[in-house]
Structure formats: C-alpha cells, structure tokens
Symmetry: C2
Subunit: 386 residues, 2 copies
C-alpha cells in the first residue's frame, strides 16, 4: 500500500512544475484581460446588475458552446435551480440524478420542493449509466398521458439530470433516447464541463436546458458565477426574466409577474468571465496536455489507472482522476494522506449523495458502480500550467 502511494506521489511530482511546494487541485489562471476589463467596470461605475460585460459574456458563452442562448447567473447551483424550475419541476416531483455528484445537483432539486431519485454511474464515463437507467425505468416507471409516474412512490418523475463528471461527457444520445421514451425532460448539469464535447457538440447543448459553473475552482472562473444554456428562445427569455426578479420592462414602474430570483451575475464578475473566455481554448489545450502526461506516466504504475475520456467525447479534463485497481476506502484514504502530506492537493470523489443525512430516504436504484468509483477514485492536481 505504501509503495503504491509513494509511486503515485512521485508520478504526480514528476509532472507538475518544480517551482512550487504546494500543488492545488485547481487554481484559476489570470493571464489575459481580466485586469483591464475589471478596471473598466470600476472606472465607469458599472459593477452591478447592468453593464455591457454581462451581455458580452453571454455572447461569448453562446458562441463557444454553440448554444443559441446563454443566461449568466450568480452561480452554477442557481443555474441548475432555474433549469429545473423552467423545465416544470414542481413540488413533490422526482428528478433523476446520479448519486455520484456534488451536493448542489441534489440541492437544486430540493429548492423546487422536488425529491432527488438516485441512479448509478458507469465506469466508462463516471456519469449516469444509460443501460441501467433504461432497465430501471422499465421496471419502476410507467408513462401515462405523457407523464412519467414512479409506480412505487406514485410521484411524477419530471426530469433526468446527467452530470458530466469531472468534465467527462456522459453518453448523451443514449440518455436522450431514454428521456424521449419516458417523457422526461433532459437537463444537463454541465457545471464541470465547459470545453468538453460529445460527438462534436458542446456538452450542455443536448438537453432542453443546461447549467454551467464558473466557481473559482472551475476551468473558467468569474469569482462566483454560472450560466443557463438553451436553444429555445422562449425558455431563454423566461430564464432571463426569472433570474432578474421577474420585473417587467418599464422606465420606472416596479411590476413583477412571477416569484422571481435575484440570480443575475454582476457585471464585474462577467468582466472577469469575458477575459477568461478569451483564454478558454488555450486552457483546454494545456489541460489536455497535462492529462496526456498523466495518462502516459500512470500507464507505467501498477495498481492504479488514469481515467481517460470516453471515445465518443473530448473532455476538458477539469479534474484529472486516478482509480485504484482494487476499490477500498482504507487504501484510498491512505494514498490521500500520503500524497496530501507531500503538498499535492488530492481528494476523493464526493460522498455519494444517498449517504448524506438529508437525502438518505430518497428513492434510488442499486448504486454498486457508484460505490466502486467512490472507493477507488482520487482527483489529482489539474490546474492550467503555463
């Protein structure tokens, strides 16, 4: 066990820059126009909810992803919350999400008053296993008048939210087919996958709506931020309306026609986002080069393998992952202890969501593969290295 941990540690240190003593998991990279754009905001006083950078950032996102519309919001959780709401998720509905995800995926479901319904992931993508999902829904669900009903709980299942885990695209064609068959809305949690593509299409452009995140640990950051992507003009307009307190346009009157949200991204955060988007192709290139170095280096280490993008996709390799050949929390934690002690910031996958106290009674299928992944996966430093 100790040899394996030491080999992993050495392999990582050989690849990372020798200049540092500490290697963060993912730190932001500001080498572009961040400062100029932020200065412009401060000099002109346009730092808040109006200003040109929000529109510009939305245009850059739409152009890069190929999505017709992008609506910038305050963070990825808010983006996913709005996607679900706009897709019609209501109180007491169920929403299918992977058990292997960050807690925000489940929380966004809860904010709608709905119940997360956990499904298993596959080793090939680390995301929802379409084959298991199909079998499971055939078993527990029935479609009546275009509504998918969970036969066991009697509740409506309204949507499926695949997550492009650590940036790697899930098998969207297969999941989309299942969604169509079972009358389920497809909402992509693309919080981690800006710069990742599925069969040539940017992740987040397959679903009805999708959520991006620009938190400080993401490939592109705005400090805190997120965005909603959609190809449907009506949904995009509604997203913008709902996220800006649902205020109707008027030169001075305050008329709001829905229970809206204060989810608009401030202009100063969008200014950083614009500068970051200009560098995104370089970031992706450098991140993929780092992943390739890891892949080659880890191919020579026994007992562990580097996770490689599925063959139908091109990943941003947001967080690089290694997987122990023999899943074991003890072994995983031993490796984590040792490599963290060397200044290498590494972490396990998230605790599976159905194990958290607030989600322990939610419906779920067998989560065997998710557990296997959680017991063997370690994320290793993945910052853009210039």
């Amino acid at each position: 066990m100790k040899t394996l941990a030491q080999n992993i540690s050495k392999t990582i240190l050989n690849i990372l820059s020798k200049k540092n003593n500490v290697f963060p998991l993912h730190e932001p990279c500001f080498h572009g126009n961040e400062w100029n754009y932020v200065k412009e905001c401060i000099d002109t006083g346009w730092v808040s909810s109006t200003g040109q950078f929000v529109n510009k950032f939305e245009e850059l996102l739409a152009k890069y992803t190929g999505s017709k519309y992008a609506v910038a919001v305050v963070n990825g959780t808010a983006a996913l919350h709005m996607c679900l709401k706009i897709a019609g998720v209501k109180n007491n509905d169920e929403v299918i999400i992977p058990a292997l995800s960050f807690v925000a995926t489940a929380n966004a479901v809860s904010y709608c008053g709905a119940i997360p319904h956990f499904v298993d992931s596959e080793e090939k993508t680390l995301g929802i296993d379409p084959s298991k999902l199909d079998d499971y829904l055939n078993d527990i669900a029935i479609v009546r008048s275009n509504q998918c009903i969970n036969k066991i709980t009697g509740r409506k299942i309204q949507a499926v939210v695949p997550v492009h885990t650590f940036g790697h695209p899930v098998d969207l064609d297969a999941i989309k087919e299942i969604c169509e068959h079972f009358s389920l809305a497809l909402i992509e949690d693309a919080a981690e996958s800006l710069g990742s593509f599925y069969k040539g299409c940017h992740t987040g452009t397959y679903g009805l709506l999708s959520a991006l995140s620009f938190n400080g640990n993401k490939t592109v950051t705005t400090g805190g931020g997120g965005a909603i992507l959609t190809n449907d003009k009506k949904l995009a307009d509604y997203a913008k309306h709902l996220t800006t307190t649902a205020k109707k346009a008027h030169k001075w009157e305050y008329i709001h026609d829905y229970i809206g949200y204060n989810y608009r991204m401030p202009n100063i955060n969008a200014a950083i986002g614009c500068a970051q988007m200009e560098q995104l192709p370089i970031f992706i290139d450098l991140k993929r080069k780092l992943a390739l170095k890891y892949e080659i280096a880890f191919s020579k280490i026994e007992g562990v393998s580097f996770f490689v993008e599925p063959n139908f996709g091109k990943s941003n390799y947001w967080l690089n992952s290694i997987l122990l050949d023999k899943p074991s929390i003890e072994k995983r934690n031993f490796v984590l202890e040792l490599i963290n002690s060397k200044g290498i910031m590494a972490r396990p996958a998230w605790n599976l969501l159905h194990l958290l106290p607030m989600y322990k009674d939610c419906p779920k299928m067998s989560l065997k593969t998710s557990k296997k992944i959680a017991d063997s996966l370690i994320n290793i430093p993945s910052s853009v290295i210039i």
Copy 2:
C-alpha cells in the same frame, strides 16, 4: 400640475452638480482602495469563495454596525432568505411584511414555502405602523403554546419583517414589543439602511437576524452582495454553514449535513466591499448633506414636501423622497414624466406587493396609508456627490 412639476424639476437641478446632463437615481462611488484590493485578488488568484477579503469585509460590517457577527452572502435576497430559514420559517407559515417594499421581501418568504401577510405602513417612517399592527394582531391572532396562530387562516405566523424603507429606520422598540407579545421572530430587512441608526443603534441589530444588501444601487456596493447580521453566535455559525453548502470541515471529504445553499460572497466582490466600507462614514455624511439641501429647497415649494427622517433615528437617506401633498397616481406620473424628460432619474415607490399577481391572494390588513404613500411618493437622485 405643470407648474408643480416644473418647480420640482428646477429645485432638483439647482441642487445637483451642473457637470452632468443626466442624474442617476443612485450610482456607486469608487474613490478608495477598490482598485488595489481587486488587483490583489486577481494577482493572487483569490477571487472566489475563499480569500481574506470575505473575512475582512465581515469584520468591517460587524464593527461598523455594532453587530456581533456578520456573514457575507451573494445578495440581499439571499441574506433575507437565510434569515427567515434560520428563524424557523417553514412551509405554510405566514410572515408579516409591509405591502410597501421591494418584491424581494415577499420573494424571500416564498422561497421558504411560506406566505407573505401584508400590513400597512405609517407616514412618519414609511415602514410598518406599530399601532395598526398591534390592533390587527389583537384582532386576528392568538398565541397558543408560544406559537402565534392566524385565527382566520389557521396558519402559524412565524415572523415580522419590518423594512427600513429607503433607509429610514422604523420604530423598532414598538415593533419589538409586539413581536415579544405575540411570540414572533423579529427579522429586519435592512437592505436599504446600512448607515442608518435607531436611537443610537444601527438598524439591523435589534432583530434576531437581519439582512443587508450591497447591490449596485445601494449606499455601499460589492457589485452584487448582501450580509446577514446577528448577535447570536449559534445563529451566525449556522448562517455561515448553511450559506456554504452546509459542508462539514474536513481536509478532503465532502460531507454535507443539511440542504445548504451556494450563497457565499466571492472574494473579489468582498474586496470591493472592504474598500467601500472604508468610505462609508464619508458617504453617509455627504448623503445627509444632500438630503439637507433638498429639505431646505423643497420647504419653499408649494404642493410637495421632502421626507425627513423620523426623530428617533438617523437615516442614511439612501433614496431621497418627495411626497405630493395630494396623493394622485395621475399627478405623480405627470411629475415623473416631466422630471425624467429633463434627465433627472426619478421613480415612484414600488407597486404595492399585494397588487402583484403572485401575491394577490395573500392575507392583508387595510393598506390605506401604503396606498397614500405609493400614490404620492417620488424618489429623486440620491448619489453621493463629491
């Protein structure tokens, strides 16, 4: 009517700086360390959810307001949402709020699954009328086992949320006494009143919890931002925990023990906030000087009066207000049309909340004074003028 409108227009133009052609209602003022602090964030890469400026900003807020604790969040709406949640507002509870407020006050109640219950304001403060509130609660409410029950709807009334409207302090002593008598939590919506004091205490320090806002139009801005104030350490700790995804401290594990929120203020926004807080005493001084100029000038104009802070308080005069002697929406709109056409950005009070479609069926008392205020009030340019 035309003479009145022209007199108002001339009076305002005489006071405002002659340098400009357009006079915003409230624009931010960046003359301090905004630049230096933001540059530090970008240079060090600390722009997001961790970084020294968030803690520093919280300390500055606590120090200035005299509140023991301050928790910085993503905006004022999020702050109020958390205050209500932490105060135990639950699904199907009622929360008493003024009908005369920005829609966020009601929306925050809705996010908890609770129902806004609208009460009237008084002319002296523009905020909740304590005398009417007391009579009303004696009429419709009963306290059973320390719970206030609305006898008409059968629902629990959990909290009262006075708003310090346009920065002017409400009569907190009177409202606090009513809250104690009826077992109601006092939550202050101090979104507009940073720098306003009630009998020597900063607004937002009387209630169990209170919410501040640092939106771009506020006295102090962080682009977008808010804060929760409380004197209770347990509540402050819970607020910080809930607003940071309820993640338990661990060097790498992702364990969350509540349905948490992604409401943390990014470090880059807090950096601006720190610079702004350093200037706050000057801002307040200049804003109060502008208000005094308005007060003197409008004392000579027939048909309209300038709103002056109640005698028990010291207001930040966030938004200066004039009130037409004879309330009339037609007259108010005529004045608004004319003065806006001169480049003076002016606006009415918000549409009363019980008139908005999503809140039209909520419980309410007679809202006679709120209507009178709404029909006669006009906010006029209030930026810090240096």
